[in-house]
Symmetry: C2
Subunit: 336 residues, 2 copies
């Protein structure tokens, strides 16, 4: 197509808020970054795939019709079910896995364990505001169908190699385990209150701990002791004694091995936490063979990563010279 | 992310009709093709860009609110204007151009002439049906802001080089000019009827000629003579004499130079057609320096390519061993 003259301007050439154009300079810079990341992911054996920009709304939102996920819904009179744009790549990945079970007879379908990567835009139907995007690229690397902690160690190695390939030098991969956090809830004896379940209070405990970088230890202690504002408020409302236990948990210092040993003492007899500690020990033990230098990985008992999602190891990555960006590479294990 | 067990299946893992998953085999085959095409486009100096998957509906549909374009509209309470998904890359390109005029003071904006390429999905909100996709990739290469026929010749060279790089051997790039088709309308003396404009009848004439590959010369002749079914029917309703003129026009044979010379005779004194013939002569003369072998390019006075869009040279490309695919690489010049 060759355009000689500008279109007679009947419509203002506006772009909706939160969406970007990539002109050649930005496009090529981004392409270089995408290619670097994809190369590392592929060198670890992650297969590239693509799922569509449109899915059934019910696939994306599941049973809930919650708008908390800010889903862009699509008007279509041609479909039996409402359509929507994916807010992440994980849900379409789960749909793809479920739709293509491995068939040993004709060897069709997806054979587990399966490593897949995806690079592509995701969409958030939220209110446009400065500094937030409603379309942005996510890079995913996932392993489906394995119990081995080798998989989690591999993800740590993947993070280390990807950031190194991008020329990032000062970063720290922090690891924890939701099982240990659940063990902490047992340790401080969180119990179901009249109108709030033990699980909801535990989630709130995790959410508060996760904020240690932002509000500091004293901020956390104050939040943990705050009285519930209503019968439905999941505030942990910890006793002084329980807060001391949380402090001693968060105060665990030393090398990764020392931290894990100290945690064993703290959680002695609490089965779920002991399981979590063993899982972390395994991950740490796999890192040297994977040539991940010890100084890039730190057991950090404060991190929780999101609320409902994860059930095992969780990890996040911070830039040591730019902590304000928060975690730039995170994930965890989901057992459903 | 590591998934140990399948998600407890509460939602069927269905994909909406007309959308595809690309599993690794398909993804890598497609990636190879995309990379080949992009490399050729870039070697011609086309800058890669990307526009978002979401635009204002008014940008995409223009003044008209026609649903003929099958636009996927997006439900959003957060925007002042309705949003929608682009059905091609051309309209967002026009929006981008209009929004970034060149400013000679600070040298910001887009300096014309500008070559841009884009590879990405477009969306058609049509009824799902076999063999049609509602999301598919389009590869665009465009030059904005030049009057030179060198640009059109370059697009022909681009088509030749791209298909050659993809390993396609038997193809034909057919070129025509809308100015010659408008000249034909003058030649057969198409005039405004009571309820239908000359322009609408001319468009209908072009639409019929474009079908010669499908319905043959006799089919075309019969359509051209058909009586209008209502006052609003733009049927050309040509006389026997006019049909003879169309036949002699479509019967023009020989080498490209011979065809152009014969057309000069046919259209002697019809200024618009003479202009179109000169434009085609220029394009043909530029092809040898661009190293496009003559046998891959054919002047074809039947092709029209779409209805309203183009105003100058138009082109399409057919696979000689698989004509059933229709045109696999087409375009034209738009002056607005």
């Amino acid at each position: 197509m060759i355009i000689d003259k500008e279109k007679k301007e009947t419509v203002k050439p506006e772009r909706p808020g939160g969406f970007l154009d990539y002109l050649p300079g930005d496009f090529l810079a981004r392409e270089k970054m995408i290619n670097t990341i994809s190369s590392v992911f592929r060198s670890f054996g992650y297969n590239p795939i693509e799922t569509p920009r449109v899915e059934f709304l019910k696939t994306l939102s599941g049973e809930e019709s919650d708008t908390g996920k800010n889903i862009f819904r699509i008007l279509s009179s041609n479909d039996s079910e409402p359509l929507a744009m994916p807010f992440d790549h994980t849900v379409p990945f789960a749909r793809l896995l479920a739709a293509n079970p491995y068939n040993s007879k004709d060897r069709s379908g997806i054979r587990l364990p399966w490593r897949r990567m995806v690079v592509g835009p995701v969409f958030r139907g939220e209110k446009p505001q400065a500094g937030r995007y409603r379309q942005f690229y996510q890079f995913d690397a996932d392993i489906a169908g394995t119990d081995s902690m080798m998989a989690d160690a591999e993800i740590v190695a993947l993070i280390f190699n990807t950031l190194s390939a991008l020329g990032v030098k000062k970063f720290l991969i922090r690891i924890n385990n939701r099982k240990i956090l659940n063990g902490l809830a047992e340790l401080v004896e969180i119990k179901t209150r009249d109108k709030v379940s033990k699980e909801d209070i535990t989630k709130e405990l995790m959410r508060i701990l996760d904020k240690v970088d932002k509000i500091g230890l004293e901020g956390i202690v104050s939040e943990l002791q705050k009285k519930p504002e209503s019968d439905f408020d999941p505030a942990p409302f910890l006793s002084n004694e329980a807060v001391l236990k949380v402090r001693s948990y968060l105060d665990i210092q030393g090398s990764n091995t020392e931290r894990l040993n100290k945690a064993k003492n703290v959680f002695s007899g609490i089965k779920i936490a002991e399981e979590g500690i063993v899982e972390l020990e395994k991950i740490i033990s796999f890192l040297a063979p994977l040539e991940v230098p010890a100084e890039f990985v730190s057991i950090d008992f404060s991190i929780a990563r999101g609320l409902d999602y994860y059930t095992g190891p969780v990890m996040e990555t911070i830039l040591l010279d730019a902590k304000r960006f928060g975690s730039i590479f995170s994930g965890g294990r989901k057992i459903r």
